[in-house]
Every structure is written in structure tokens, then in C-alpha cells.
Point group: C2
Chain length 431, copies 2
Amino acid sequence: MKIKIGLFGAGTIGSGVIRIIREKYPDLEIVGVVDKFYKEKKDLLSGIPTSDDFAFLLDNPSVDVFVELMGGVEAPLYVAREALERKKTFITANKALLAKHGYALFEKAREKGVHIGYEAAVAGAIPIIHNLKYIFKNDTILSLQGILNGTSNYILTTMRKEHRDYREVLAEAQKLGLAEADPTLDINGMDAAHKLTILAALVTGQWFSVEQIPVTGIDHIELVDIQWAEKMGYRIRLVGKIERKNTGSAPEVLLSVEPILIGRKHFLWDIEMENNAILLQTEYSQSHMLVGKGAGSLPTAFSVVTDIINYGALDKFPGDNATASMNPVEETFTYGEIGSMESLENEFYLRLEVYDQPGVLAQIASILGNEGISIMTVHQEPEYKDKEKKIVDLVILTHRALRRSMNAALASIRKMEFVAGKSITLPIKET
Amino acid sequence: MKIKIGLFGAGTIGSGVIRIIREKYPDLEIVGVVDKFYKEKKDLLSGIPTSDDFAFLLDNPSVDVFVELMGGVEAPLYVAREALERKKTFITANKALLAKHGYALFEKAREKGVHIGYEAAVAGAIPIIHNLKYIFKNDTILSLQGILNGTSNYILTTMRKEHRDYREVLAEAQKLGLAEADPTLDINGMDAAHKLTILAALVTGQWFSVEQIPVTGIDHIELVDIQWAEKMGYRIRLVGKIERKNTGSAPEVLLSVEPILIGRKHFLWDIEMENNAILLQTEYSQSHMLVGKGAGSLPTAFSVVTDIINYGALDKFPGDNATASMNPVEETFTYGEIGSMESLENEFYLRLEVYDQPGVLAQIASILGNEGISIMTVHQEPEYKDKEKKIVDLVILTHRALRRSMNAALASIRKMEFVAGKSITLPIKET
């Protein structure tokens, strides 16, 4: 059973796919590679027909499986549509493509009776897509939370461990191939939001607009926040979350990507560096956690190869209807609305850069008090951030409060004259 | 697509299966239950035809899937053979059955072209069997280690957290349904060894004799060991391990079940109570960890239901050959030999109950030194274990040493007159 592969993109992940297939899979044959820079990759691509023209592969009728690992959105969308049009399996690691155009692409795949493989698009080597489709769908998933972006987790971990600055660590991550040349989507949380949209579709059967997810990245977090968190027994993680909330009549789905302070007993405490993790709470099996590499050439390529093996033959030799029902071509989704997080309650970490003058704390306490928020602890940095202007960091932990209240308090505080610069707030989760 | 189920055994797991199917799966129909005590379970079994006679179900031709949740080995073996003979899917949570008779049963299943589902037999709710068969088999697994027995992990955790005695905690676990009335196999490590045999077959393609696995349980571990470990920054876990070692020509497979001291950075550090965890090191995807409930009615029943769904329809409506190759009926196994652990190196924890007399430590140090083992630290309990006989606990941590050397040293030490009682040794793994 030979499966013939047309590969678009021989970059970090693509070269990993080529290597794994060469070393381990004589039955998988790469019949062609399209890459913009194919002329500069002679060693890697030796023995494989190459081109920079999409038609070169798309018009090769011997291809069973099209694999898209180019990055970007428009070109991959073209390849995806053309592949599905030809009733061929389409496999991609492209979360932005699926988050934006997944609804239409899955509809087309269903119509054409073929699979889209996208294991590599979410959480690198962790087989979360497969497990949601074939295992966890048999339970009722109450919530999912995950560290879904290896780059930002690498940055947060390294800042904490080595007491180093954000910019410096980011530059290092880029050198190590753990961050893209343009890391914007990793650090502003959008990459995690793309992945969350895909996971939410599998968990709820609903397709959510990625633009409507409340997303906070890690680009505003400073070394001082990480160090304050550590002193108080917390670590900062960028967490994507899906939660089903039964409010009155219809169940609401809450989606969010935000950095949170997690306590020592939280399951994500030990998920460090470029590792990803996904934690599920379910009705019957109670809890599951999957941990693995969220980035890197070979780990991500492994998920691509798994999809090629699991879907390639299935689409090439479709079984009868009954068997096909056990190997569902993509599900039908409906469009969903994201519920509001305003009525969620959390403890909060709050850091304010303020002018060191009498009465500041009293005024802050009064604003918080007016919103019904009570203070648990207050810390003031012993040293000035700016000696001349007498600016200090004030760090406050609050008791449980509504997000709505904290947002309102923060808006009031930001208008005060004593606020000299940043004011950041992060929710706290002990477990 | 209605799947008809014949259920043998309506105990802890069986009642969970009945509940999940009733609440969530109108397409799964339990057409009959065989249970020794069916007359005492009228509420649970209301509306379901019941009997205590195996033939009542085996001779019902409408059954698609036979589910065996009785426990024991001989009766389940009979049911398994009869089910496979009738070309019906056979699903079981019975690790002892598979560890002892798996080779022949899988051969029969292959011959008859049906599946054996055994997700619930290993690590409760964790879908490790499915993931090994459909995902991780695409990589090369270098090692697997796991906490495979929820009962013993519950006992070890509770002893540490509540400073309570082994017997007391075991009795509590039995009351909570986390330990069987006869917990022998849980605490002597054999239950974990049964599971390890099944995992090793999937990881290596070889079937190993469970009697040949070096197995140590937790029944000799005292509260004092757990407390010493904690003082020194360790926790004790009962770990099952599969390791592939390239020694010269042929790769050796090492299998073991033993309590080990793990360090703070070890991935199994936080796996507490009745949770199970499996940690894989692989060639391409590098590392995976799966965590979930290892015991309990609903979590284990969830795995049974998943097998019913995933294999029931597949066997009832077998697809064509090509599709079947993607859903392999059980693999062909060969018999394997277990390699020797004698040449492995570890740091060791060593606790000796000795008479408090001069020169004891010098003699121990000399025996260890003769075997090339050097001491890292020595602690002596400040209080006598037995005041009259002046017996104290001596706790020694060693530097890395061969297991062969430690075994030899221990044999010599045990012959010495100053040894008053127990002498136990546990390997240490920092990560």
C-alpha cells in the first residue's frame, strides 16, 4: 500500500517530514515538492522532483495526499481548495488557515468525502485532535484548558529561570528556531486563539469567530511580574480555555486566551519551556492531561506523518458506509456565539506603576472597594523604577471578584493622576 | 446503527457501563447481563434480561459485542474464547486474563477477523492502548514508564500527605472502592506487571512472560521510608518501565515494576492519589505524557464504552481490505526475552534496621566499598525503633552504582549480625 505525497513547503516542518519518511517509511513516497526556495535546498530535496509552481503538484494525478506546510493564509487556502476539489486528502499544520477558513473547508471536505488532517496545527506532537475525534467525544467535555503556544511558554519559562528580559529571551528563541522571524502571533496570543478555535469546534460542534475571542498575549508582561509572581508562589502561563457554563436556559461557551497566575498545585505548573499541555475536565472520565512538544521540526512533523498514515489510505480506499461512520469525515459544524466572561469570578494580581506620594494606596483601595473588591495583600517595590520621577511598582492581590468589577475598577484607576505608566491585571488560579 | 451488547459482570465497572449507556447512548443496547448476584441487583438491572448462566448470553445470536467485567481468569477466558469463536467483538478490563492468555487470544481474534478491546485493562480512563495502536506506533518508542496502579498510588500518596500507616490507608482505600476486597495484586506489583506485559506487546511487538518480569510491590514500604524520602526531597512511586537498550548486536528489552524515589523535576512527581500516568520517550516526537484516572467506576467504564463504539461497528460491518489495514485487527506477536537489569546504574536509597552498636557504619561502608559503591549521605533516626533492643533505622543514599553491585552488597549486609530486621533498597531517579 504505497501512498503518494505532494508536499508544499520544505521549511522547518517540511524538512522534518522528509527526514522521517526517508528514515522510516518506505511505503510513503514524496512524488514532488513545491517550495519558493527549492533551488537553495538541493541537498534536502535530492532525488525529489521540485518546482516553485503550484500547478506542478496540483496537476499531478498520482498524488494521493497533499501536505501544506508553507505558512501564510492565501496561498495555503488556494492549495486546500484545489486539493479537496480533486477529492484528495489535505493535510496541514496551518492553524491560521483553519481558524479563518475551517468552516468552509470542512464543509467542502465533507461534500467531497475526504479528510482534512490537522493534527500538527494544534499543540505540535500532542495527538489532541485524534483523541478528541475518536476518544474524548465519547464523554462530555466540561472544560478544556491548555498551554497551546510553545514559543510564549519558552519565553515565560526562560525569563523566570534566568531572570532575563523579554526582548533578550525572544531573540534567543528565534535563534533556536523556537520562534518565527515574525513572532507577533505567538506573543500576542493570536496563535493560541487560532488553535483554540479549532479545538472549540471539536469540543462543542460549533465554529466561533476567532476575532471575537478575548485574547491577551504576553507582550506586556515584564520580568518584574514574573518575579513578583514567583515570590508569592505563582507562575505565569499563557492559557487558552474553553468552558461550558450552564446559565439559565441554554449552555454558554466561554473562550479565552490570557496569561494567568497559577498556583503550585495547578496541573500546568510543571509544563515548562516549549512543552504544550492540554487538560480536560469531563463528565465520566473526570480528567485527562496530555503533554508533549508544542514546537520543533521533528515533533510537529511526526503529527503530519501520523495524519498521512491514518487518513491517506482511508481516503484512497474508502470503505463501505458503515465503516466510514467509524472514521467520520469532518463533522458538521454550526456557527456559535461566545459567552461573556464578565460574570466570572477570580482572584486578581494587579501591578500599577504609580508616583510615590501620600494617599495613593488609600485612593486605590477606595476605587476597588467601590466595586466590591477587597484587597488580600499589597506590596511596594523597595526601589524606584524611575528615581527622578519617583515612580514605584505597587503590587496588589485581591480576593475573589467579578471580572466586570475588576475591569471597571481598572478603568477608574487608569484615569487617576497618580498612575505613572502601566497598569496590568492577571487572574489567579490556584488549581 | 444499533450495537447490541452482552455484558458479563455488573460490579463496579459494569454498573458504570450501564449508567453511561443509559444516560448517553440510545444506539447502544444491552441485550442481557450475566452476573452471579443478578438477583440482588434488581434496581441496577431493571429492564435488562438477566441470568447467572453464561450460555444465556453466549447463545444469544443478536449480541454484537461481548463485554467481560467479571474479574478472575478462568471464567473470563472461557467467555473470551467463546466470543471470538462466534466472530464477535470481545471487550474486557481484565489485565490478568490478557497478561496470561493474550498471545493465544490475539491470535484467535486475528484468525476470526475481529477485535479485542482492552483499553480499560490498562491505566483506567487513559486511552493509552488506542494511542499506542494508532498514533505512537508511527514513532519509535525508546522507553515507557508509568504509574499503572491507582490503588498503590493512592496508598503511597495518602501515607505521605496524612502521615498515616500503610494498613490504615489500605483499609480506607477499600472502603472508598479504590482497592479490591483482596488487594494482593495491587500492592505486590503484579497488577502493574500484568498491564506492563500488555503495553510491552504493543511497544515491542513481543509477548513477554509476566512471571519473568522483576516485580517489587509496595507492601514492604513503611511510613518511615516515605518520610525519609520526603525529607530528602523525594517521593516514592510504583513505576512500571519498558526500556529498549542497544547492547551490542540485538536490542534488549528491559521490563520492571518497582517503587522508586523520584526527584522534584521528575514528570511523575505530581501524579498523586488514584491518578495514573504514562510517560513515553520516542525518537521523533521526543516525549509524551498522558495522565488520567487509573481507577474508579465511571472512568474505567468510559474506556469500555469507547471500545464498544470504536470496535463494535467496525466488526459488525467490516470494510474492505484496504480500510481494514488502517484499523488493524490485532497484531502478530512473537515471544520475547526480558533483558537483565544487572548492568543498569542508579543512585540508591538504602534503609537498614540495625542494632545501635559501635562499628556498624564502618562495616556497612566497607561492604559497600568492596562492591565499588560510594556513600553520598548517612542518616540515623534519632529515636530507637525498639528501645529495649536498641534497634535504629540507618538511612544511606549512595552515588551511582550497578544494580548487580547493590544486590551483592545487600546480600552480604543481610548476613551481618548487626542487622536486626528489614533492609530495603530503592533506586533513585532525579528526572
